[in-house]
């Protein structure tokens, strides 16, 4: 792999041992994928996870003197101040969050603690070469914006923030961004939730770059977030195209690079129904509702507020979002409405964190299959439904 003089110096340790380690990892990744050289990048998002491996690696880089050339925005762990006061967290997990925050602060990250940086704090432009980890973010910036990133890991994107470049391979190259699977959606796509189920059809769609046809021509931002988040959770999709909707798919021919697709997959109403049945617990009593995986937008917060206005929730409700969205919700009176009904809007927090012990062994509702998928390890069970049905269930305490 060709390296510039500056890159060679980084590797040799002229910029410190931390930068050298980051560069060494990036060269190994580049060589794995036959990258010819590195390219400079201009934006980074790191999916801080507040897991032991996450902290171990950031501290390892810090001890070796690393600092980010490009300040990355970061994912949420959990809101330490709120959780200390209102939820049960173990001293060990409290320490982990504290140390993780400090480590990312010290290494030069912008502490946004949001998993939707593409909505507000770190929005790339079309064609911009960037390094984004985080399931929904990678899929969104590639597919919906047309920026170029590989499906980075927390660690590879942090290395990119430190060196300011990435090896050029994969989805940075136009030819690899072209679709090769035609997904003919014959199912009726009625709302944002159907995009979750569609994304969860990844097993049927199979590996590659899907090009969707048969979808509505004006999907909401939330629908596009959902589709990418689920595709990239259950499969490993960095990019998808929707003909007539996403920027690299003005036509089917353009999306496929004027080639025939390797295969065509038909998605029917039955497929969506089967997926929902296979991932959801059966209907019945529920004790909580969990929203915001990925972090909810202000529109989604508003929809909930309109439904719970003047009512009392029978089940605990949590809406996870960014601090900006929480601030907006406060300003717009939505936070007050939700809190009066007994619900919570919590910022800087992820569902997949060790702050939800009080929900262990309980059954909740969520509109996000991803939420249910990752929390299996934490002993949380979910009935998965569309947002309105979930909110109705939270008002009644059961799903019928």
């Amino acid at each position: 792999m060709y390296l510039t003089d500056e890159e060679k110096e980084m590797l040799a340790g002229a910029y410190g041992a931390g930068t050298a380690l980051a560069m060494k990892i990036q060269v190994a990744v580049g060589e794995c994928f036959d990258a010819k050289h590195m390219v400079e990048i201009s934006k980074v998002h790191v999916a801080l996870s507040n897991q032991e491996a996450d902290l171990w690696f950031v501290e390892k880089l810090l001890k070796a003197g690393a600092y980010c050339r490009i300040a990355p925005t970061v994912n949420p762990g959990f809101n330490l101040e709120f959780c200390r006061e209102h939820l049960s967290i173990s001293p060990k997990d409290e320490e982990l969050m504290e140390r993780t925050r400090n480590a990312y602060r010290e290494i030069g990250a912008t502490l946004t603690f949001s998993c939707t940086p593409y909505l507000e704090a770190n929005v790339p432009r079309f064609g911009e070469i960037i390094s984004y980890s985080e399931t929904s973010a990678t899929a969104y910036v590639n597919s919906v914006i047309g920026a170029r990133t590989n499906r980075e890991s927390v660690q590879s994107s942090l290395c990119a923030a430190i060196t300011g470049r990435v090896p050029e391979y994969g989805y940075l190259l136009k030819e690899n961004r072209l679709g090769n699977i035609l997904v003919d959606v014959q199912a009726d796509i009625k709302d944002d939730f159907d995009y979750q189920l569609l994304g969860y059809c990844a097993k049927k769609i199979g590996p590659g770059v899907p090009v969707f046809v048969g979808l509505p021509s004006n999907p909401s931002q939330e629908a596009l977030i959902n589709l990418g988040a689920q595709l990239n959770t259950i499969g490993a999709y960095a990019i998808y195209h929707i003909v007539g909707v996403t920027p690299e798919a003005p036509t089917m021919e353009a999306a496929l690079g004027n080639k025939k697709p390797d295969r065509t997959v038909v998605i029917t109403n039955q497929d969506l129904a089967d997926i929902q049945k296979s991932i959801s617990r059966p209907k019945g009593k529920i004790s909580f509702a969990m929203f915001g995986c990925p972090h909810f937008t202000i529109n989604q917060v508003k929809e909930i507020a309109q439904m719970v206005k003047g009512k009392k929730l029978a089940a605990e409700m949590w809406i996870l979002t960014s601090s900006l969205t929480k601030e907006l919700a406060d300003r717009m009176g939505l936070k007050k409405v939700i809190e009066s009904s007994g619900g919570h809007i919590l910022d800087n927090t992820c569902i997949d964190q060790p702050c939800w012990h009080h929900l262990e062994g309980k059954v909740g509702v969520t509109d996000s299959p991803k939420c249910a998928y990752y929390t299996k390890r934490r002993g949380l069970e979910f009935v998965i439904r569309d947002l309105r049905t979930c909110v109705e269930a939270a008002l009644k305490g059961e799903i019928s």
């Binding site: 794995c32 994928f33 999916a47 399931t135 927390v154 490993a236």
Partner: protein, 142 residues
């Protein structure tokens, strides 16, 4: 090394490993393994309920979000339940960086014949640095 079938492969994460083979038809997310036992807990997974601890794992590719793969491996590794080596068909950045950082030998681009010969329980020598895999079929005719 005594009798064995040798196959070429392409190094991703450096190192050598040997052990029993475990083959998965499905992609693997190490986060959905029980770190205490090494067992895969993902419902409907090809290897559901089986332990990957100490195995040379043969699987098509990794999957899952950008953070959980590495933590899954880290948790397994710190409890001595990680696979010893990994042989894959489709590398992705997340699995690749996880293996490099965790120092678990990882290879791809294995000769096609390997997949026709290898079965669960075979003993395997994996040398990522030399780009070689050797299958030793214990008590079996080669």
């Amino acid at each position: 090394m005594s009798k064995g079938l040798s196959f070429s492969c392409h190094k991703i994460a450096e190192g050598k490993a040997e052990g029993e083979v475990l083959i998965s038809k499905d992609e693997i997310l190490f986060y959905l393994c029980d770190p205490e036992t090494g067992r895969i807990i993902e419902e409907g997974h090809d290897l559901e309920g089986q332990s990957i601890a100490g195995k040379i794992l043969v699987f098509p590719a990794g999957k899952g979000s950008s953070s959980v793969q590495v933590d899954g491996l880290y948790q397994l590794l710190t409890r001595n339940k990680a696979p010893k080596g990994m042989i894959i068909e489709r590398p992705d950045t997340i699995l690749v960086t996880s293996a490099i950082i965790m120092e678990i030998p990882l290879v791809d681009r294995v000769e096609k014949e390997f997949y026709q010969k290898v079965v669960n329980g075979d003993y395997l020598f994996l040398d990522a640095d030399r780009g070689e895999i050797i299958i030793k079929k214990e008590n079996k005719q080669l």
